[in-house]
């Protein structure tokens, strides 16, 4: 039965816990972020409850239904165009006034609304308890108290969804604007009524209000309508400059009439978050604390991971021995030993690092600290032509460039957005970590943690300097002034961070299972054939291919094996070491790739450092390039990003190796 499905949309201000509610309902493990713009695309989950199927859609956070940035358009269009059966607005109980603003707009659209009063435990503690029955009566809708992170109130919410799914909305207290505006709304409604098709799609009062507000997105809804001309003529006779502010004021006036009846006034005092912020974001301590935290993170990652790495290394080493001893067929033994075990093994070795890094990043983010980094970095960034808010996608880039590039949607200004998109991949993603860990661990011993930290900082510097370059050459002008909400600090949840780590970690393992196995098998084939040549020698197919492209990287000091690895690294950057593992055919050796690299005279510490720099900066992986194309909407920008980053990588690696040769000589 088709009727059985109920479509539910989750909406609300940023940072109110929509995704937490979504996860509590659907049981899935979407990332719960602590900065705006983490949900950049709607996410869908299914829940069976009370014999019905609920399709829950988690929308990006928005302060109102006037869409400014790309992620807000997603939220608004879904509610408007898809007309979900029930809309749940998640509210933060500690800031009702602002949250109710969105409520008034949802009611104006005529959505079938349920309010989920989230974080009610926090509000209670602050002594801001809300009188639910009165608020329900005043708004004419149901209100459910939830504490989503503990799963409280979720079943009540589900019961209410089922109860309300059939009924229409009934908002008794519509917001009355002043007489003149009301009069104009009525006139517009009359004009709009001439287009019946339009009226079945949008509520006429809502559309009239938006047109009066000068909402461009609402105007575009008229683009194919026969009333467009009449509407434009009507609007051009009005002096509409002041309308939207006046209408916003009216909505707040409505809220301010409601609020005193349902909630005691707040007690204003310095909260602990304010006090922590005073220290962590202060002028002299802000940046040093940020850098110290990052450095500590890489040191911890490296220290904790080492024993696990040794175990994994032993495992693959003995696996390789078993293969060498027991398999007689030379090609099969080579495929398993030199190809898969050596290639995949050299990537698997770094799984502990990835897991630990993701866990620590999640802890920092969960605490609310990472959102502050944007503020801390803004002074530096603004002078380099990029606004503070851009640092958020850049920080997300430490995890993976794909969601990070998507997160640029929270930036309203197109120039800001394109610049941020171009430089975000310079932030070193998790996939590049294995390359650094292998090379730094092999060639820099005790200093490995600091070397890796240095590579990450280099990424930040190249990103910021590139932004400056783009701003002064391509996008002349100043970055737009920014405003962003910061979540309150709270002690991070080890449980949530653990979930996030498992989630991201399993994605990594999936990549190892697919892209990376595929990559190393192709490399093995090219290294094993044509028949009769020595495996992985210059005479094999891959050798000839490598020799062909070697001149391109020879000035840096790289040989054909490195060149090939970099080419295949375009699939996924872990493949850089996967290919090296396969090319060196290190399966049967104890200590695997590390000792093979040390034995190869081409690999000096300077070249190792240069290869780390090259891997950091050159063309991002195929997934990131594809998302740049999608988000910029242009091949031109995609090609530019690829060419620019590769040129940058070549130059920086060249300089690194030359300087390195002097230092390490």
């Amino acid at each position: 039965m088709v009727e059985n499905k109920i479509r539910v949309a989750l909406t609300g201000n940023p940072n109110v816990g929509k995704t937490t509610v979504f996860n509590a309902i659907t049981g899935s493990r979407q990332k719960v972020g602590n900065w705006p713009g983490v949900t950049v695309e709607k996410k869908t989950g299914i829940k069976e409850y009370g014999g019905r199927i609920l399709e829950i859609v988690d929308l990006p956070g928005t302060y109102s239904l006037t869409a400014y940035s790309a992620d807000e358009v997603v939220a608004r269009d879904y509610i408007l165009e898809e007309k979900p059966d029930v809309v749940i607005q998640v509210l933060d109980s500690t800031n009702l006034e602002r949250n109710l603003y969105l409520t008034t707009q949802l009611l104006e659209i005529g959505t079938n609304l349920i309010l989920a009063l989230n974080m009610s435990d926090l509000a209670e503690r602050k002594g801001e308890d809300v009188n639910i029955p009165v608020l329900e009566k005043l708004l004419g809708i149901s209100l459910i108290r939830t504490t989503a992170n503990e799963g409280k109130g979720i079943n009540e919410l589900l019961d209410e969804i089922i109860l309300r799914s059939g009924s229409a909305s009934s908002f008794p207290n519509k917001i009355e604007y002043n007489k003149k505006i009301e009069d104009e709304i009525r006139q517009l409604e009359r004009i709009l009524a001439e287009d019946e098709a339009l009226m079945t799609r949008y509520p006429s009062r809502w559309l009239s209000i938006k047109l009066l507000e000068g909402d461009e997105n609402a105007h575009s809804k008229l683009s194919s309508s026969n009333v467009q001309f009449k509407v434009n003529k009507f609007l051009s006779n009005l002096i509409s400059e002041e309308y939207e502010a006046e209408m916003a004021d009216k909505r707040y006036e409505f809220i301010s009439r409601v609020l005193p009846q349902v909630s005691k006034g707040r007690v204003e005092r310095m909260s602990s978050s304010d006090m922590i912020d005073k220290v962590l974001t202060s002028r002299y301590l802000g940046i040093p604390i940020f850098l110290a935290l990052m450095w500590g993170m890489f040191e911890l990652t490296f220290t904790f991971a080492t024993p696990f790495m040794e175990l994994i290394d032993m495992f693959f080493g003995s696996l390789a021995k078993i293969v060498a001893v027991n398999i007689d067929s030379p090609w099969l033994s080579s495929l398993l030993g030199d190809g898969i075990i050596a290639g995949v093994g050299s990537v698997m070795l770094f799984v502990p690092n990835i897991f630990i890094l993701f866990f620590l990043l999640a802890l920092l983010e969960d605490s609310g600290y990472l959102a502050r980094a944007a503020f801390i970095m803004d002074r530096l960034m603004y002078s380099m032509g990029i606004q503070g808010k851009s640092f958020i996608p850049m920080l997300m880039g430490f995890g993976c460039s794909v969601p990070a590039v998507m997160a640029t949607r929270t930036l309203e200004d197109r120039a800001d957005r394109l610049i941020t998109m171009m430089v975000t991949p310079f932030m070193s993603c998790g996939a590049r970590m294995p390359v650094y860990v292998l090379l730094a661990g092999t060639f820099f011993g005790k200093q490995a943690g600091s070397v890796i930290f240095g590579i990450y900082v280099l990424g930040i510097i190249v990103a910021i300097v590139s932004a400056k370059l783009f701003r002064s050459i391509i996008f002349k002008g100043k970055p737009s002034s920014f405003i962003m909400e910061l979540p309150p600090y709270h002690s991070p949840s080890a449980g949530n961070s653990f979930k996030y780590m498992m989630n991201q970690g399993s994605l990594y393992l999936k990549r190892v299972g697919t892209v990376i196995v595929g990559g190393v098998v192709v490399i093995w084939l090219l290294a094993y054939f044509p028949q009769g040549v020595e495996y992985g020698s210059a005479e094999s197919y891959i050798g000839s291919l490598g020799k062909l492209i070697e001149p391109l990287v020879a000035p840096i000091g790289f040989d054909w094996k490195i060149a090939i690895s970099l080419i295949f690294g375009f699939l996924a950057k872990e493949v850089v070491i996967g290919s090296l593992g396969t090319l060196y055919g290190t399966g049967a050796d104890e200590g695997m790739l590390s000792s093979a690299l040390v034995a190869d005279p081409i690999f000096t510490p300077a070249v190792a450092l240069g290869l780390m720099v090259f891997t950091l900066l050159y063309v991002p992986c195929i997934g990131a390039v594809a998302v740049i194309k999608k988000e910029s909407g242009s091949w031109k920008w995609m090609l530019f990003a690829a060419a620019y980053s590769t040129a940058m990588a070549w130059i920086m690696a060249f300089v690194t190796v030359k300087i390195g040769n002097i230092i390490f000589a």
Binding site: Y63, S64, T66, Y68, T94, N95, E97, R98, Y101, E213, G214, E241, E244, A245, A248, D249, Y252, R266, E268, S271, S273, D274, D277, K278, T281, S282, R283, G286, R372, A374, F375, I376, D378, R379, Y382, Q387, G388, S480, S481, F482, I483, M484, E485, L486, P487, P488
Partner: protein, 80 residues
Amino acid sequence: MPLTMLPEGKGCRIREVRAGKELKRRLIEMGFTPSSSVRLIGCERGNLLINVNGARYALGKGMAMKIMVEPDSLEGVELG
């Protein structure tokens, strides 16, 4: 006076948002309404960290210049 001139730790109320209509509407939607109470938590070269009705915002200098406020008490504040 513009919000940028508010001394640290001092409370004030918003009097007016002097911005283009887009920005003005956006600020209002985020809760920067007339008579909202604002407190300055910290200031970094004109970039502000403020508390508006209990929510914390980081605010670029340009944006902060457009928000006109009235300090809660004029004591200790130099005007002009």
